[in-house]
């Protein structure tokens, strides 16, 4: 049942010229070049063909354009009628003809030479669909080795083939192809990517283990190794912690919101600082172990511990984290991260003023120190700092901000009354 408009029926059903067929000699593709023909319309009869095709208007200019009559050229209608038709996908007449009402078959292409010619012409026509069609045919009719060998020297066809294999999810074929092309790193990464499709963590772990020996770049190889190690440990931690959920205090007080499996390293470290802080380095779940196994930077480590312990309001742990013994056995606070950030994190976790104060006082930049101290109402620090700066004016201003007759108020007043101090203003 025709769907096209009545006036087009004749148009579609007639053909001014004999189209190219495959009864001609296989290797005489160039026979057409001497005859100037217009192939009026090459159309697929939509109803009796399974493989649909575009409707095209093509005409042959007669000039040799390669060995294949890939075609269209048409006088432009000055009006805008179907301007895009001229630029529709142009196909080798061969393929179009094959498709027209007949079985889609490349059977006549038997020799390797013919097949490669077909591929080269398809590439020349630049039509993705045609190239793909030919590649599918070649995939079936050539051995993997021969195909990949031939593709090595045909970049465009190769890319199309890789794209095709990806689209069709043919992982194995793709990996083999990349291997034979010597694109070993790509192959390794592609295989690594597959781990995302494995849901079961034990199977995933085994898969990652198998990936380790693949030809990654040296850096990537160490990352994959880490990934495996991490997952291996996470499985163990997860198993143990699931048991501990109803028994150990910290798990009961702060029930776990999610499993630790497949989490990034830093998240795992945070988890470990939360639930397993203080455990000896020998255990997989201890922060110290995670830190050393994965060579976590000092900054990251400090920030993570701080975040976790502050959340649990374990201020002593925070204190110990920053305390270091110097040469003389005196303790001193050190931090790879600025103390203003420490203050920030502590404050976000509602640390009491006494705790905040301790760290505000360690902020190096005086302006920042004063500003933080004011923000968090660490009065003593403000007062002492202004006193050190001998800034009487600021002290007076600040006195206006504190509560009347409070200890701070009196402290400021005492200072202001102190005649010994050489104020600068």
């Amino acid at each position: 049942m025709m769907r096209s408009k009545p006036d087009e029926d004749d148009y579609w059903n007639s053909s001014k010229f004999r189209a190219f067929t495959f009864d001609d000699d296989d290797d005489e593709f160039s026979t057409l070049k001497e005859s100037k023909r217009a192939v009026n319309s090459i159309v697929v009869d939509d109803d009796d063909d399974d493989d649909e095709d575009d409707v095209e208007k093509v005409s042959w200019s007669g000039e040799p354009v390669g060995t294949f009559p890939d075609v269209p050229s048409r006088s432009f209608a000055p009006e805008l009628r179907k301007p895009k038709a001229e630029y529709k996908v142009s196909k080798p007449v061969l393929l179009v003809n094959l498709v027209k009402g007949r079985a889609y078959s490349f059977e006549t292409f038997r020799s390797l030479k013919d097949k490669m010619l077909l591929l080269d012409e398809a590439v020349h026509a630049n039509d993705g669909n045609v190239i793909t069609a030919v590649l599918i045919f070649l995939k079936k009719s050539l051995s993997k080795e021969i195909l990949s060998r031939e593709l090595t020297s045909r970049e465009i066809a190769l890319r199309h083939y890789i794209h095709y294999l990806k689209e069709m999810g043919e992982q194995k074929s793709l990996v083999e192809l990349l291997k034979s092309l010597g694109r070993t790193e790509d192959m390794a990464l592609l295989q690594y990517k597959e781990h995302l499709n494995i849901k079961d963590e034990v199977r995933k772990k085994e898969y990652l283990k198998a990936c380790i020996g693949l030809p990654f770049s040296p850096e990537d190889a160490s990352h994959v190794q880490d990934h495996y190690t991490l997952l291996e440990r996470q499985i163990i931690i997860e198993a143990n912690d699931k048991q501990a959920e109803n028994k150990v205090e910290v798990f009961k007080k702060h029930p776990r919101k999610a499993s630790i499996l497949n989490m990034p390293i830093i998240t795992t470290l945070y988890y470990s600082c939360f639930y397993h802080y203080g455990e000896p380095e020998g255990t997989f779940s201890s922060p110290a172990n995670i830190r050393s196994t994965f060579k976590i930077s000092e900054k990251q480590y400090f920030l993570t511990v701080l975040g976790a312990r502050a959340k649990l309001k374990e201020w002593f742990d925070v204190d110990r984290l920053f305390t270091a013994k110097n040469w003389f056995g005196y303790t001193k606070k050190k931090s790879p991260i600025g103390f203003h950030r420490v203050v920030d994190i502590l404050q976000k976790n509602n640390a009491p003023v006494q705790v905040l104060q301790e760290y505000v006082s360690l902020v190096e930049d005086t302006e920042q120190k004063i500003s933080l101290a004011q923000k968090y109402k660490c009065h003593d620090i403000v007062i002492d700092t202004y006193k050190d700066l001998k800034d009487r004016q600021q002290l007076i201003i600040y006195q206006g901000k504190v509560e009347r007759n409070s200890p701070e108020d009196r402290k400021i007043q005492d200072l202001l009354n102190n005649t010994q101090i050489r104020w600068k203003n």
Partner: protein, 566 residues
């Protein structure tokens, strides 16, 4: 006729009309009443070509969204699927067709592939046993879509990735085809210039296509004098940097899609007199953004700092215009005033909208996060400490800021420094993988392949030199103008000084079509518009691209899809 397309030097309505005509023809091919089942992604681009009214004229009675299961009941003769050539969508179509209620009157099924058909998709339909049930299977080649009077885009998201990562030139082929279509309507462009490998390929393809059409010269006098093809990777820095024009910021923060932006509704709540506090709207406010809106056309390309002043000025003008009613004494004057009212009211609404938008943007631009980020970007661009690991980036990673933000900054540093030292690169990679997960090895690998992230080679870093020469431009340029402009001026070097003598109108402005292969940002468009206005009798620019991008969408297109199974 789309109003916004008529304001440019080149009437892009012709292109749009051509596309509409094709659409009409296809719809008529499926004679009778019809319902369209939409691949949602396509509704945006189609909206630029045709509205529902056109579809209605061709008997489209219902529209549905493509989803699995049974199609809704609709008393129509034809069901047409408008889909991209994606295998997953074929499965849904098959599902729809198979689930058709056998007891009802059978409907005819058709498929329209946009922007082109795919053998694999048709094979899939065949495998699922539905290909035979489809009456018309066609392709609707939507290559270059006019977005505004001087802007065309193919909206091909994957173009950059395909060209620079996968070495796949399919999108370049389609670019060449799109340009051939353009030439059929606007005349063969006499000169083609380009920079970059992809530009070369496109030019070669175009010349070949032209040869294949030899003997059929178009009679149309060329509208465009020159075509300038530019590979995106000639300048990777500009798309990575935060844009600072009004339109650029809207895109960075809220994302402009197909000429529309969706904004948080709170600031747009209508305050009607006499009514109490209404419930705040929950639906995002959708605004159309194009040059048909006078105010928008004025402020879109300005540096955001200058927008406040422009809005203020406009507010005064509009106020004054409304005040005119007091001066209208005669019937004639009153009549004239009333006739201008709709225009004035539209201007006032426009002003209100953009004042709200500007406020929303200001909230972001005055934030510490924005300021800190911008500071680091500018440090990189001026070559400060680009060879060391950057503390701000490190801190952002530690805070677990969105990964794309991190990647943008790291890539920027790499580009500005002409590659990173091994130690620095390793450091960033490790920090990223440790914080965001190992699966991101794949994305980092992609970025390296695309040249956005790389190891420093022995060759000299040539960015400082470029910067010095262009600093001259910056000094002269108007303060109000976009700050990333100088990078575009760099590209202006490639526009030839010699004028073609034979073709083209003498004494009139030249029109150059600049085609960015791999994406273009609104900031760059703004810069080219500025150039267009700069010289009298100089060149005017029409911009085309494979995709309108910003730093976020740019990086995103290079990220591996990492859907972890639930």
């Amino acid at each position: 006729m789309a109003a916004h397309l008529s304001y440019g030097r080149v009437n892009l309505n012709i292109l749009r009309e051509a596309a509409r005509k094709e659409l009409r023809e296809f719809l008529d091919k499926c004679a009778g009443s019809k319902a369209i089942v939409w691949d949602e992604y396509l509704t945006g681009p189609f909206g630029l070509i045709a509205q529902y009214s056109l579809l209605k004229e061709h008997e489209v009675e219902k529209m549905f969204t493509l989803k699995p299961g049974r199609l809704p009941a609709a008393d129509v003769k034809n069901i047409i699927f408008f889909v991209r050539p994606k295998l997953e969508l074929m499965d849904i179509i098959a599902d729809n067709v198979a689930s058709e209620d056998k007891l009802r009157t059978p409907r005819d099924f058709h498929v329209l592939f946009v922007p082109r058909r795919s053998l694999l998709c048709e094979q899939r339909l065949k495998e699922k046993g539905v290909l035979g049930s489809l009456i018309n299977v066609d392709e609707y080649i939507l290559d270059l879509i006019p977005y505004d009077g001087d802007l065309l885009s193919m909206e091909s998201e994957s173009a950059f990735r395909e060209c620079y990562l996968e070495n796949d030139q399919t999108s370049l082929y389609h670019t060449a085809k799109g340009l051939m279509t353009l030439q059929a309507l606007y005349g063969t462009i006499p000169q083609i210039f380009g920079k970059g490998e992809c530009a070369r390929h496109v030019a070669n393809m175009m010349l070949r296509m032209k040869r294949e059409f030899a003997g059929c010269q178009t009679q149309i006098l060329p509208v465009f004098d020159t075509l300038l093809l530019l590979d995106r990777n000639v300048d990777l820095l500009t798309p990575l940097a935060t844009q600072l024009t009004y339109e650029g910021l809207i895109d960075e923060i809220y994302s402009i899609n197909n000429g529309y932006v969706k904004l948080p509704p709170e600031k747009f709540a209508q305050k009607k007199q006499g009514e109490g506090e209404k419930d705040l709207p929950t639906e995002p406010k959708k605004l159309q953004l194009n040059s048909a809106e006078e105010l928008y056309a004025e402020i879109r390309d300005k540096n955001f700092n200058a927008v406040g002043a422009a809005l203020s000025k406009k507010a005064k003008i509009i106020s004054a215009a409304f005040e005119e009613r007091h001066n209208a004494k005669t019937v004639g004057e009153i009549k004239q005033f009333v006739s201008q009212l709709p225009h004035m009211q539209a201007a006032r609404t426009s002003l209100a909208n953009h004042t709200s938008v500007a406020e929303l943007i200001k909230d972001i631009t005055t934030s510490d996060a924005f300021f800190d980020n911008l500071t680091v970007e500018q440090e990189f661009m001026t070559g400060v400490d680009t060879d060391k690991a950057n503390t701000y980036i490190e801190d952002c990673i530690a805070r677990k800021d969105p990964l794309i933000k991190i990647l943008r900054l790291v890539c920027m540093q790499s580009v500005c420094n002409n590659g990173l030292k091994q130690k620095v690169l390793d450091f960033y990679k490790r920090e990223i993988l440790q914080t965001y997960g190992f699966q991101h090895i794949l994305t980092l690998n992609n970025l390296e392949k695309a040249g956005l992230l790389k190891l420093q080679t022995a060759t000299r870093n040539n960015y400082p030199t470029i910067r010095k020469t262009l600093k001259l431009w910056m000094e002269d340029a108007n303060e109000q103008v976009a700050s990333h402009q100088f990078y575009v001026l760099q590209k202006a070097e490639y526009v030839p000084v010699c004028r073609p003598t034979s073709t083209g109108q003498q004494g009139e402005n030249r029109i150059t079509l600049v085609f960015f292969l791999g994406g273009v940002t609104y900031a760059e468009i703004a810069a080219l518009r500025f150039l267009s206005q700069m010289e009298d009798g100089g060149t005017e620019y029409v911009i085309a691209t494979t995709k309108l991008i910003n730093g976020t969408s740019f990086i995103k297109s290079l990220m591996e899809r990492l859907e972890v199974p639930p």
